[in-house]
């Protein structure tokens, strides 16, 4: 399954990403990198975890809420999430681009903390379609929780349905040491297709959504 395809003679704009397939040469860029590749035929796109552009420095994703929220046990909410786009053909990866502005933040302290891809989102009560990805979060708490930001693991599963990209369903759990987000492996909506985790392109490590 192909998420998006840019055929010869076509152009694609996806946020910051610009792709132009001129037939014989493919031009692409996102403001962080750009390039030209000699290519006959179409180029395919797929969503990838947002931890590779401009360089693979992050090990997690930090979603900062526009406004802090008080949430109850059993409540569900959605947030907008970033993703990246991988350009590839049958057996070659061409580039990894970001449709969104990229920023990073240190989560935790300077000794034991980790670098996270930072993204700001409103708290949504339902899946509102848009360019950004969506993540559904289920709250498991004793009573209520006060939430300002969420830290998601970098190796999250991605899904798509049509143009819309989704993260796997996440669970926000209240633990003795604080709030923690865990992954469930479930698709958030029916009919969503999971982005393949294994590399289709064995030669290229960058094609993997994981970053070592």
């Amino acid at each position: 399954m192909v998420w998006k395809r840019v055929n010869v003679g076509e152009e694609l704009e996806l946020g910051r990403v610009r792709i132009r397939n001129e037939g014989g040469i493919l031009r692409y860029g996102d403001g962080y990198s750009s390039g030209e590749v000699i290519l006959e035929g179409p180029v395919d796109l797929r969503p990838a975890r947002p931890i590779g552009v401009p360089q693979p420095v992050a090990s997690g994703i930090l979603i900062r809420l526009e406004k802090p929220a008080v949430l109850r046990d059993g409540e569900e909410f959605w947030v907008r999430t970033p993703y990246e786009v991988v350009l590839y053909t049958e057996d070659s990866m061409i580039a990894r681009l970001s449709p969104f502005e990229v920023k990073f933040a240190l989560y935790g302290n300077l000794i034991g903390g980790k670098i996270c891809r930072l993204h700001t989102s409103p708290l949504l009560r339902g899946p509102e379609e848009g360019l950004e990805g969506l993540a559904k979060i289920e709250v498991e708490a004793q009573g209520t929780v006060f939430l300002k930001e969420l830290v998601l693991p970098g190796d999250i599963l991605l899904f798509y349905r049509g143009d819309q990209v989704f993260y796997e369903v996440l669970r926000l759990e209240e633990r003795p040491r604080g709030l923690r987000v865990t992954t469930t492996g479930r698709a958030p909506i029916r009919g969503a297709i999971q982005v393949e985790r294994r590399s289709l392109l064995k030669k290229s490590k960058d094609f993997l959504t994981e970053v070592s």
């Binding site: 360089q55 990073f104 933040a105 300077l110 903390g113």
Partner: protein, 263 residues
């Protein structure tokens, strides 16, 4: 029948040899047991090139000591042998003091793990990337491309700054603007430039402040954090970016100057 009779007659002569063989067998068994025990515990934790010589040292050491003691029933003068061995040991010990010291240093480095291959470090004023940590020495490729070998005994006792042990590192530099400049506007311009760079961290926040009212200029201190992996490339880009931003916004970056009043 003849064999039994022969054994009966010569038993006292044969017994010491039997004891020697038994002693050697027990020695080999104990040495093999210790070797297996070491492999299970240390072998899994230590790198192969460090573990292998240690295992050989212990294994053959046990065999040598065990064989010497096993030869006792033959009436060999072990005191002389041990004394000779002792003297030889002292001689070898003195000769190989540095080697043993480096070996132990290497062993302690493996146990404590203050760095690993590929880490950017600074040891005794030598800064660079760790190329290899071997049994006797640590090799570092300096920032300007040379390969420096440091004996492990010195590495273990030295101050080691490991830049990879922290996720983020601070970029710190000063920039001067002319007297009479709008300081808040300059600060805002620099902050905007810092925030526009994708690899400058939002948290910890970057900061810009007046550090000094210098002889020729107002000195602003610029501080920003970047992931350790990309610290140096980001630093290079930021200095240039801040300069370009200030020039584009019309800020003057003055040369050192002095007003001389003549009477």
């Amino acid at each position: 029948m003849d064999l039994l009779k022969w054994l009966e007659e010569n038993w006292e002569r044969i017994l010491p040899y039997v004891l020697v063989l038994l002693g050697i067998a027990v020695t080999v068994f104990i040495a093999l047991f210790v070797k297996a025990l070491m492999r299970r515990s240390l072998g899994r934790r230590m790198p192969k090139h460090a573990y292998s010589p240690l295992e050989k040292l212990v294994y053959y050491g046990l065999i040598v000591v065990g064989v010497i003691y096993s030869l006792k029933p033959l009436g060999l003068n072990l005191t002389g042998l041990l004394m000779a061995g002792g003297v030889l040991g002292i001689v070898i010990g003195f000769a190989s003091q540095a080697v043993v010291s480096n070996l132990l240093g290497g062993l302690f480095i493996y146990i404590e793990r203050p760095m690993k291959i590929g880490d950017p470090v600074e040891i005794e004023g030598v800064g660079g990337e760790v190329l290899d940590i071997s049994v006797l020495s640590t090799r570092i490729r300096t920032w300007d491309g040379y390969v420096v070998r440091l004996p492990n005994s010195r590495v273990f006792n030295a101050h080691i700054t490991n830049y990879a042990a922290i996720p983020a590192r601070r970029i710190d530099f000063a920039v001067s603007i002319a007297y009479g400049s709008d300081i808040p506007a300059a600060r805002e311009a620099i902050m905007g430039a810092l925030r526009s760079h994708p690899l400058v961290l939002e948290n910890p926040e970057p900061e810009v402040y007046v550090e000094e009212l210098g002889d020729s200029a107002i000195v602003l201190r610029v501080r920003a954090w970047a992931p350790t992996k990309v610290w140096f490339p980001v630093k290079k880009e930021l200095v240039e970016l801040v300069y370009r931003t200030l020039v584009e916004r019309g800020f003057e970056i003055p040369f050192p100057q002095m007003d001389v009043h003549l009477k």
